[in-house]
């Protein structure tokens, strides 16, 4: 790994996989196209050649079986990473994900399932494949859900996820793979799960967000800055369980919360955030806790429809202004 190399989001994931495969011989990668099938820009590209078929294991496409197989490997002391072609396939293996998340509790601590499910979401032609399943698993205790928004976080969080002893659903922004680039040093990066990152400091209002929509949120914060509104933007990065301490500290200062996500509003992860904030800070908030999210429909295929699906800077900044008026 050269020093200060500009790395894509996909490249950062590949680096994380490679470093952990080198670091711990128990780590292996499973998936439908992680070997010969992994083209040049794919995160798994080249790993089969370096680590061989005992570590990089190409399996038939079966969303359901892959997660069960990974659980079995974990039971035998390995640390499998499962790659799914698209995140909605977790719906095919839903029971297996829940079973893995419950394993430690069910066995009164005797067992655990150290496995990572890596899957891209977003900007797929089909509404089904584009969907982020984050909301499906919002109520699944024992699971971690991670949604990195930068190459640096993709690197540090995936490495940490692979070392985590509980199952991790690692959702990758499909749109980011080749589009996001960042200069990364050769130093090892391990980003602790469950820690939010403050992307922008502010005193008037706290924006809680994650994943692809972090960027329009930052844009919106800049837009209203000119109008004298100081917005703090917190990228949760790990959305389940989330970093309640960082959120609390920020809200103690701002007293205003805007939750932004690019998945449907009803029953989304933002609901739990709003509920927790209302419970803990309800008495001291200066304005109603507000959500700006995608409408309660699947991700549409036509670009003209898709354009008005995820919250954009305009919608987010409007919400920020409304919050400051109350």
């Amino acid at each position: 790994m050269a020093l200060n190399e500009e790395t894509t989001y996909a490249g950062a994931i590949r680096r994380a996989l490679r470093e952990e495969l080198l670091h711990d011989p128990r780590v292996c990668l499973l998936g439908e196209e992680v070997g010969f099938g992994a083209g040049g820009e794919r995160p798994a590209h080249g790993l089969l050649g370096e680590f061989g078929p005992e570590r990089i294991i190409e399996l038939p496409a079966s969303g359901g079986a892959l997660i069960g197989v990974a659980t079995g490997m974990a039971l035998m002391g390995l640390r499998p990473v499962v790659e799914l072609p698209y995140a909605a396939l977790t719906g095919e293996g839903f029971s297996q994900v829940v079973a893995a998340a419950q394993l430690h509790w069910r066995t009164a601590g005797a067992m655990h399932a150290p496995l990572v499910i890596r899957a891209p979401y977003g900007t797929h032609a089909d509404p089904w494949r584009a969907a982020s399943p984050e909301a499906w698993f919002a109520g699944v205790a024992g699971l971690h859900i991670v949604v990195p928004s930068t190459p640096y976080d993709a690197l540090g969080l995936l490495k940490a996820a692979i070392r985590e002893n509980n199952p991790v659903l690692f959702l990758e922004g499909h749109y980011f793979y080749r589009r996001l680039r960042e200069v990364l040093t050769a130093d090892e990066v391990l980003t602790v799960l469950g820690q939010a990152e403050i992307r922008r400091d502010g005193d008037d209002v706290t924006v809680l967000t994650w994943g692809a929509v972090v960027y329009p949120a930052m844009e919106a914060a800049e837009m209203v800055a000119g109008e004298g509104i100081s917005a703090e933007v917190i990228d949760l990065r790990t959305v389940l369980p989330y970093d309640a301490a960082t959120v609390a500290a920020s809200l103690a200062r701002t007293g205003r919360a805007l939750i932004v996500h690019d998945t449907p509003q009803t029953g989304g992860l933002g609901a739990e955030l709003a509920a927790r904030i209302a419970e803990a800070h309800g008495a001291t908030m200066h304005a109603p806790i507000t959500r700006v999210a995608a409408p309660d429909v699947p991700f549409p295929a036509a670009p003209e429809l898709a354009a008005s699906y995820a919250p954009n800077a305009a919608r987010i900044s409007d919400a920020l202004r409304r919050l400051m008026r109350t």
């Binding site: 011989p25 128990r26 292996c28 005992e54 570590r55 294991i57 399996l59 038939p60 079966s62 359901g64 079986a65 892959l66 997660i67 069960g68 197989v69 990974a70 659980t71 079995g72 490997m73 974990a74 039971l75 035998m76 002391g77 390995l78 499998p80 029971s95 297996q96 829940v98 079973a99 419950q102 394993l103 430690h104 509790w105 069910r106 066995t107 009164a108 601590g109 005797a110 067992m111 655990h112 150290p114 205790a141 024992g142 070392r163 985590e164 002893n165 509980n166």
Partner: protein, 340 residues
């Protein structure tokens, strides 16, 4: 790896203990000391005993709801099993799950049943042993109707394409669920092996020696890296799917004639290997074992409600899982990965 056949009397003891322990569980259910249902394994004893007799210590098993005998054969203590059924703190799940929904991945190498289809999990343990170059096999036990599940299909296909050392033992009993109807067309579920290009055998699940012999053949193939094997054992289950369901009288009579334990007893007696004295001795020791387990479990304290939310997440220093690596079964040095 060769494994010397257990002496016949050990098989007899194994089957008898399985029957006696399940009867004790049945009585606990009937007397309402256990809330919940017992999926009756009466009649499955030759399958659980015969198949496990063909295994080596380091092999992995994934028993189902009726496979109490598998747990006993792998060395799980009757005390543990009853503590689990009675949902005591000392039970392997600490009272968090019921019935046989527990496992042990350090010593007995029993994959925990999760009440979700889990043949894919067994394929995963088989894949783990393969990539580590170990000669372990994984044996999964299924009820016939479970071969209708997508999990069975995806896992068997995956195991076949990867040449995994996975043996799927299907106990076909005359009942499916609560009633005697057919949930599939083929006469023999072993025919489903053709869908995966793997060998499929049918064996008389009431004949413990026939089961052991068929299983030895399957284990040899799997250990040799030839991929998965489907072994169908025809059994006749008395009682309905659960202890609660009743069975017609003539069915019971028909069953007695086929009872695997009575069949094996007749065989041993004609061999002169078993006589009244021995029978009584065995019965006495079996009874003592069951009694000890009962006393232990019944006096074991229930779980403390304060512990309900313990173990929500595994700590960073959780013990590595899987068998102790000091001496992995049949680990072939040259293919062995430095994996821990």
């Amino acid at each position: 790896m060769s494994n010397p056949p257990l002496p016949l009397l050990a098989l007899y003891q194994q089957m008898s203990l399985t029957r006696a322990l399940e009867d004790a569980i049945r009585d606990l259910v009937r007397s309402r000391q256990i809330v919940g249902t017992l999926h009756v394994g009466r009649g499955h004893e030759a399958v659980t005993t015969g198949t496990t007799a063909a295994l080596a210590p380091g092999d992995v098993v994934a028993p189902g709801a009726r496979d109490l005998g598998v747990l006993l054969a792998r060395g799980v203590a009757p005390r543990q099993i009853l503590a689990q059924w009675l949902r005591r703190a000392a039970g392997p799940s600490g009272g968090r799950t019921g019935a046989l929904h527990f496992g042990d991945m350090r010593d007995a190498l029993v994959i925990p049943a999760t009440a979700t289809p889990s043949l894919a999990v067994a394929a995963g343990t088989a894949l783990a042993t393969k990539v580590r170059g170990e000669a372990r096999v994984t044996v999964a036990y299924l009820e016939d109707a479970a071969t209708n599940a997508g999990d069975f299909h995806e896992a068997m296909n995956l195991a076949a394409t990867q040449d995994l050392p996975l043996i799927c033992v299907v106990a076909t009993n005359t009942y499916v669920g609560k009633f005697a109807s057919r949930a599939y067309r083929p006469k023999h579920l072993a025919d489903r092996a053709a869908a995966y290009g793997i060998p499929g055998y049918v064996v008389d699940g009431g004949d413990v020696l026939a089961v052991r012999e068929a299983m030895e053949r399957a284990v040899t193939l799997a250990r040799a890296g030839r991929g998965p094997v489907l072994l169908e054992a025809k059994v006749f289950r008395v009682a309905g799917q659960t202890e609660a369901d009743s069975v017609p009288r003539e069915t019971l009579d028909e069953w007695r004639a086929r009872d695997p334990i009575e069949r094996f007893t007749r065989h041993l007696r004609t061999l002169g290997a078993l006589n009244d004295t021995l029978t009584y001795e065995f019965a006495a020791s079996t009874l003592a074992t069951v009694q000890d387990a009962l006393t232990y479990a019944q006096h074991a304290p229930p779980p403390d409600p304060a512990t309900l939310t313990d173990h929500r997440f595994a700590p960073d220093d959780a013990l590595p899982m899987g068998p102790p690596v000091e001496a992995p079964v049949g680990m072939t040095a040259e293919r062995m990965l430095q994996w821990r």
